[in-house]
């Protein structure tokens, strides 16, 4: 039986008032930063490279490699991505509210390693309590000398600024996030340049890292990149927070060693998901946020590892796993996901803007019982117009990868549950209503 690890980013989970600075300091807080400041920035980067931590924001890019790509310039910025809005993803929200000091310490460490001129923590505007807690943590850091001029007596000086978003999923995409931070609409930028590390905030080289990625840094520096790398397997090193939701007995966050646990264990083992409700069977699993193609109950022995899930034709993405049981209407599930994309498309690219709303309309009419048999071909055709060949990983025809994510659930839904779609059409209604 897999044991819940929970030793790195969620280490303070059981502590009362874990968000308070005193609690943080008495549980190892700021030891990572002190150690980092005793090293050169390039030595800190080397530890992060050695840890091989993959970014936790969804794309899974090695954090150390990203830092090494930062273009040299007098001004450069660090922006922490706390926009978490991917459906069924709720790990950053927890870290932000419950361990904001760890986030701030990680931010300072990253800023030191890359020599940031200023660091911004971009939080989703809806995280009202999170905004309060992170600002408190920043205030506390100034108070103890971890921010401002000559941090902990060193020659390093830095300011960290908290920035609230205002409700737009697309602002999680890093170039949209930077536009938003510049006071504009959250329109993703046209690539190339592919990375903000070349042209980012205010046109300067910028590193964007996810909240969970950054929250791991104090531990990595304090314990060494090698210690982190000794957990997990292959390219998927360390632990990762998996957010489990849907029709399981114990939805919640589970920090697990990567690769060492399977989807089956996460969903069914007693000390983790606890299985489904009485008398229910598993119908499908969404393995990494709603952009990811679903996997079947036959595939759930797959390990929770980035490359492993990719090989199976899906992705681990943001690490959010949704279990759906046999009481779920798959047409409705796919429809709701398409509705999400329709609402959140920023509207810049035709395939994304038009495709998402067409797909939503056709899905809605099938679910409502007024679909036609040709609708299934129409849906596949629409998917093909967004992603030629409906391939996975998707070919990109749009400015950002929101567009190419739209077909996943619809195409896989039709492939896996064609009969269920047809029943809706033939019976003129939803059999689950």
């Amino acid at each position: 039986m897999p044991k819940q690890v929970g030793k790195i980013v969620l280490a303070r989970r059981e502590l009362e008032n874990s968000y308070e600075l005193d609690v943080y300091l008495s549980s190892g807080g700021y030891e990572g930063l002190r150690k980092a400041l005793s090293m050169n920035p390039e030595e800190v980067t080397a530890q992060v490279v050695e840890s091989n931590i993959l970014g936790r924001g969804g794309a899974g890019f090695e954090a150390g490699r990203k830092w090494s790509m930062l273009k040299s310039a007098t001004r450069r910025y660090l922006v922490v991505n706390g926009d978490e809005s991917e459906p069924a993803t709720f790990k950053d929200h927890f870290l932000i509210e419950n361990d904001p000091n760890q986030l701030v310490e990680g931010t300072i460490i990253a800023a030191y390693a890359i020599g940031a001129s200023r660091a911004f923590i971009f939080l989703r505007g809806e995280f009202a309590l999170g905004l309060e807690r992170v600002q408190e943590a920043i205030n506390g850091a100034y108070k103890i000398g971890a921010l401002g001029r000559n941090i902990f007596g060193s020659t390093f000086s830095l300011d960290v600024v908290l920035h609230p978003g205002a409700g737009a999923y697309i602002c999680g995409e890093e170039t949209a996030l930077l536009e938003s931070l510049e006071g504009k609409r959250g329109f993703p930028r046209i690539k190339p340049p592919y990375f903000p590390a070349v042209i980012g905030l205010y046109g300067e080289p910028t590193i964007v890292n996810n909240v969970e990625t950054v929250s791991n840094l104090p531990w990595i520096v304090a314990n060494g990149g090698g210690a982190f790398k000794s957990l997990g397997e292959g390219r998927s090193t360390g632990t990762r927070i998996f957010a489990l939701s849907g029709q399981v007995k114990n939805p919640g966050l589970y920090e697990l060693e990567m690769v060492k646990t399977s989807f089956r264990d996460l969903i069914f083992s007693e000390e983790l998901g606890g299985g489904l409700r009485e008398g229910r069977t598993l119908k499908a699993v969404i393995p990494g946020g709603v952009s990811a193609p679903w996997i079947t109950p036959e595939q759930i022995d797959l390990p929770l590892g980035q490359d492993e899930v990719a090989k199976a034709g899906s992705m681990l993405g943001s690490g959010s796993i949704i279990a759906m049981d046999d009481s779920t209407c798959m047409v409705r599930a796919a429809w709701r996901i398409s509705r999400f994309f329709m609402r959140e498309s920023c509207g810049q690219c035709t395939p994304c803007r038009e495709g998402s709303s067409w797909i939503e309309k056709v899905m809605a009419r099938i679910e409502a019982g007024s679909g036609r048999e040709e609708d299934l071909d129409l849906l596949m055709d629409l998917c093909d117009n967004i992603v030629p060949g409906v391939s996975w990983p998707p070919a990109q025809t749009t400015i950002c990868v929101l567009g190419p994510s739209i077909p996943s659930s619809v195409a896989v839904g039709i492939r896996m549950f064609r009969d269920e779609f047809l029943t809706h059409i033939k019976e003129g209604g939803c059999p689950f209503d």
Partner: protein, 209 residues
């Protein structure tokens, strides 16, 4: 209503100072405006444009892109019910119906007593408490019909006035910190840091040679 005045204006000026470019303060200032009026009033748009060195059209253009920025008056409490996938699987749409009838407002509308505006929202990153909703961005869940009724009672009676503050997610966010280090001072420091880094690299190369 409503330009920034006195205390709020002082806060607004502090916020503008946090950014190398003033325009970045646009969204934070919109939140600040909502703490006064609940929505982004026309005068506030003009004032934000003045403070950020932009135009009203630019502020409006930015603000209208974002779901949290209200462009017309709202109730004292905005209730946002999540119907996204994890909540839907646990009864999110049933919760939405319940909220509409309990709070007395259809989606997008405000109850006749002016207390509640009901919205259907996307995932609130609180999916382990599905089905859930927010009231002025404070989260409640999992909720059933009774839970919604109780929530309304507590809001109306003032029981939750501490947990659920007024509009504007920045109303309780206060920065206590020294003035920011001027950017040109930081620039000098980074030039120095980069020079020592280059020296170390050179020393290592000659050491290896």
């Amino acid at each position: 209503m409503s330009r920034f005045e006195q205390q709020v204006l002082a806060e607004a000026l502090e916020i503008v100072k946090l950014y190398p470019e003033r325009k970045s303060a646009t969204i934070p200032l919109c939140h600040l405006a909502q703490s006064m009026d609940g929505y982004l009033a026309k005068d506030a748009i003009e004032h934000i444009a003045e403070l950020t060195g932009t135009t009203s059209a630019e502020v409006y253009g930015t603000a209208s892109f974002y779901d949290m920025i209200q462009l017309r008056p709202v109730g004292k409490y905005v209730v946002g019910v999540c119907t996204n996938i994890a909540c839907m699987l646990q009864g999110g749409y049933e919760l939405l119906e319940e909220a509409e009838s309990t709070f007395g407002a259809a989606v997008g509308e405000t109850s006749s007593d002016g207390l509640f505006t009901v919205e259907e929202v996307e995932c609130l990153a609180t999916c382990d408490r599905a089905p859930c909703l927010h009231v002025n961005y404070r989260y409640f869940g999992p909720l059933n019909a009774e839970g919604v009724a109780k929530l309304k009672e507590d809001l109306v009676s003032g029981h939750l006035s501490n947990e659920v503050p007024i509009h504007g997610v920045l109303s309780r966010v206060k920065r206590y910190a020294p003035e920011l280090i001027p950017m040109d001072e930081i620039d000098d420091l980074r030039v120095r840091d980069d020079a020592s880094k280059a020296e170390r690299a050179a020393a290592q190369r000659s050491g290896n040679a």
